[in-house]
């Protein structure tokens, strides 16, 4: 991958104004080039197996983005992924790698399933926000606890959040098949169905639930928090160097717990939408792996909440096309995991070129002497 090519002529007007843009251009060009490299590598993989890569990518396009149905399929899948990715991206601003968002999703969902029963009869405009907030609260406490363990006991947050996810899934199974089980849920043990009035519907004119809009909004808000507020600024300093942040008197402890809790709250919200818009009750299907796909998305988006939106759409589109690829090309369902793996590796490896392409030098060539 090169950005080679000299521009002939030495008398061009000063291009110094381009310098600040160089970082941005690189920030966009590098991942896109890496994405294409990942696609290319996967195309070779398919060729080796005697499959036609062009057919593959055209099917991915068709089933992921090519028709109105494809879009509604992709967008429906994107909603929980956006929120799950925030659970990784927000703590990542502090340099924390939280990989247990799945736990916050399932417990947020259980909270909704359980709490909707006593709230039945409340007016929906009160009950629905209460349910959403409680789901966010549970998720926030769960992942916030990971931050607290990190802050107070120095427990590694990556490992702790992973263990907590396993524990959360066990807890969820216990609750939906034990204390909160609706005896009428026969072959799929679940909590009681939540009242019709509390169900989250589709966006007007779309076949996609409101969770998508809220998730996109959440990404925008998270971006503002990180990029445009003093808290976000403090977090970025702390993420760069904890000790320097402490020297400057920044409240590192509050930041660690607050950011992990906020990330967890978004994951809990994903659980809320899973129950209130998709399943209608809490059950074992809440552990659908969104939390793990969210890790991938956040890393690909370099933990930038705005970049999460296109990346989540891309991955959701891959997943939406998995079925068609399976049926038309007789490829196994794991094909999409392999593709994601190729792309993920390529994009992460491309980070080594960050700042080494010397865009600045290239842009201002001939002006320095």
């Amino acid at each position: 991958m090169t950005v080679a090519g000299d521009i002939p002529g030495g008398q061009a007007p000063s291009r110094a104004w381009l310098v600040p843009l160089a970082g941005r251009i690189e920030g966009l060009a590098l991942p896109v080039a890496a994405l294409l490299a990942g696609f290319l590598a996967f195309a070779l993989f398919l060729l080796l197996l005697g499959k036609n890569p062009l057919e593959f990518y055209s099917l991915v396009y068709k089933a992921g983005f090519g028709t109105a149905f494809s879009w509604s399929n992709t967008l429906s899948r994107a909603a929980p992924l956006l929120l799950a990715a925030l659970c990784v991206a927000i703590p990542a601003r502090l340099g924390l790698v939280v990989i247990g968002g799945e736990g916050a999703i399932v417990l947020g969902g259980v909270m909704v399933g359980a709490l909707a029963v006593p709230l039945a009869g409340w007016p929906a405009f009160i009950a629905m926000p209460v349910l959403a907030l409680m789901a966010a609260l549970v998720g926030g406490i769960w992942i916030g606890a990971v931050g607290a363990m990190r802050q107070w006991r120095g427990v590694n947050e990556t490992i702790a959040s992973l263990l907590m996810a396993y524990i959360a899934i066990a807890l969820m199974n216990h609750l939906v098949e034990g204390p909160f089980r609706d005896p009428a849920s026969l072959n799929k043990p679940s909590t009681a169905p939540i009242a019709e009035a509390f169900r989250v519907g589709n966006l007007p004119g779309w076949n996609v639930h409101w969770g998508l809009a809220i998730a996109v909004l959440s990404c925008i808000l998270a971006w503002i928090l990180i990029e445009r507020t003093t808290i976000g600024f403090a977090a970025r300093i702390a993420g760069g160097n904890i000790r320097a942040a402490q020297v400057q008197g920044l409240p590192v402890g509050k930041l660690v717990i607050g950011f992990t809790a906020l990330g967890g709250a978004f994951a809990g919200l994903a659980g809320y939408f899973e129950v209130s818009a998709v399943h209608g009750s809490a059950n074992a299907s809440l552990a659908a792996g969104y939390g793990y796909t969210g890790i991938l998305i956040a890393f690909l988006a370099r933990h930038n909440p705005l970049a999460i939106i296109p990346v989540a759409l891309l991955l959701a589109g891959f997943e939406a096309s998995s079925g068609l690829v399976q049926r038309r090309m007789d490829l196994p369902d794991a094909t999409m995991i392999v593709l994601q793996g190729f792309v993920f590796v390529a994009i992460l490896a491309s980070e080594t070129f960050t700042g080494r392409l010397d865009l600045v030098g290239w842009l201002t060539k001939g002006e320095r002497s």
């Binding site: 072959n187 799929k188 299907s285």
Partner: protein, 371 residues
């Protein structure tokens, strides 16, 4: 090999079903004879020696039919994933008959998608279709509990410790009925026999299934069966512990031929070819379809070499009784394992009784609990 059974008529279930049956499936619009695309959706891999393989074998029988295109998808989660898969099969492949085969696909996923596609028929395995649900949805299932009862008879003859074991996924009605049937079959041989049940909590989790099997063997069980999605691990582990095994879902005799007594297998080829034949002919399919050994919905694996002559005799005698109809596994007087009466003297539940599909107890003699 099962074609002799495929032309049998389905049990027209209205009689035995306490009003839950639709009075005829009205939903299937008469379609012009032409190419029919049928979609099968599996929750796991289709060669798992178990639940999914049983359905995939049925799909293979449909594939062999004229004028039918079969499309399949594996590892589809019981989330919006399955909703999208159904719609994708309809929108991109023109599927008009779908078999989403996992329990958890039914409510809410099929019930949510079906109203938007009135021209598509959704046939679900295991669900309880009832009046008021979309007319283009149907549910079918088989009386596999009878198969586990017959497993139990073979087990009852084979056990020396008078203790048999059951590796179960989750305490849901279909699993509880299987556990109860397995024990009651064994008790038809010797009323002293007990059955230990261990729940793994997951439909497919190899290490837990192996650990549960070992725990059963450690507890003295010497005949083991299971109800998990893929019985391969349970069968192999039990055989390695020198236990006899009874199969489930599909025929697992190849895994340990000397130890394999018999097995309760699905025979979905019968069901699927019949439903497709009806669809091709433009005939309606009932919304609520059930069948057992007599209807060819389920079958037993051939008896293995370890069965005694007495076991064979009782097995075949009982199988004939079941096929002739009216046989009840749950027959009073019967208590559950907490001492509550579940069937008073003279009360019995035949296989066709829908009350069995909401079973929430383990009978006396089963060690285990439903929660």
């Amino acid at each position: 090999m099962t074609n002799s059974l495929t032309r049998r008529h389905f049990l027209s279930t209205s009689a035995g079903l306490a009003g839950a049956t639709a009075l005829g499936g009205l939903a299937m619009p008469a379609r012009a004879a032409g190419p029919l695309t049928v979609g099968f959706i599996y929750v796991g891999p289709r060669d798992d020696y178990g639940y999914n393989q049983a359905h995939a074998e049925g799909a293979a029988a449909v594939k062999a039919m004229e004028g039918v295109t079969v499309i399949e998808e594996e590892n589809v989660a019981e989330t919006q994933d399955v909703q999208q898969t159904m719609e994708s099969m309809i929108n991109f492949d023109g599927a008009t008959l779908l078999f989403p085969t996992s329990f958890g696909y039914f409510d809410p996923h099929i019930l949510k998608v079906a109203p938007a596609y009135p021209d598509v028929r959704f046939e679900h395995c295991g669900g309880l279709w009832s009046e008021g649900m979309p007319e283009n949805v149907g549910s079918y299932f088989g009386y596999i509990g009878m198969g586990q009862y017959l497993n139990g008879i073979a087990a009852g003859h084979a056990t020396k410790t008078k203790k048999i074991g059951f590796v179960a996924a989750k305490p849901i009605p279909q699993v509880l009925l299987n556990i109860n049937s397995f024990l009651l079959g064994a008790r038809a041989v010797d009323p002293e026999i007990t059955c230990q049940a261990i729940f793994t909590g997951e439909w497919s989790m190899a290490v837990k299934e192996a650990e549960a099997t070992n725990a059963l063997a450690d507890a003295g069980a010497d005949v083991i069966t299971c109800h998990v999605d893929g019985p391969k691990v349970v069968m192999e582990t039990a055989a390695s512990r020198d236990c006899f095994i009874c199969g489930y879902h599909a025929n697992q005799s190849e895994l340990a031929p000397e130890k394999y007594l018999t097995g309760a297998e699905w025979n979905w080829a019968t069901v699927y070819t019949d439903m497709v034949t009806k669809t091709l002919a433009g005939e309606p399919i009932d919304n609520f379809v059930r069948g057992g050994l007599a209807e060819g919905f389920i079958k037993m694996s051939p008896l293995g070499p370890a069965n005694s002559d007495a076991a064979r005799a009782q097995f075949e005698d009982t199988q004939a009784k079941i096929i002739s109809g009216g046989f009840a596994v749950i027959e009073g007087p019967l208590k559950d394992n907490a001492g509550n009466v579940i069937a008073a003297d003279g009360v019995s539940y035949e296989e066709t009784d829908v009350a069995l599909e909401s079973m929430n107890y383990l009978v006396e003699g089963v060690i285990g609990s439903t929660s």
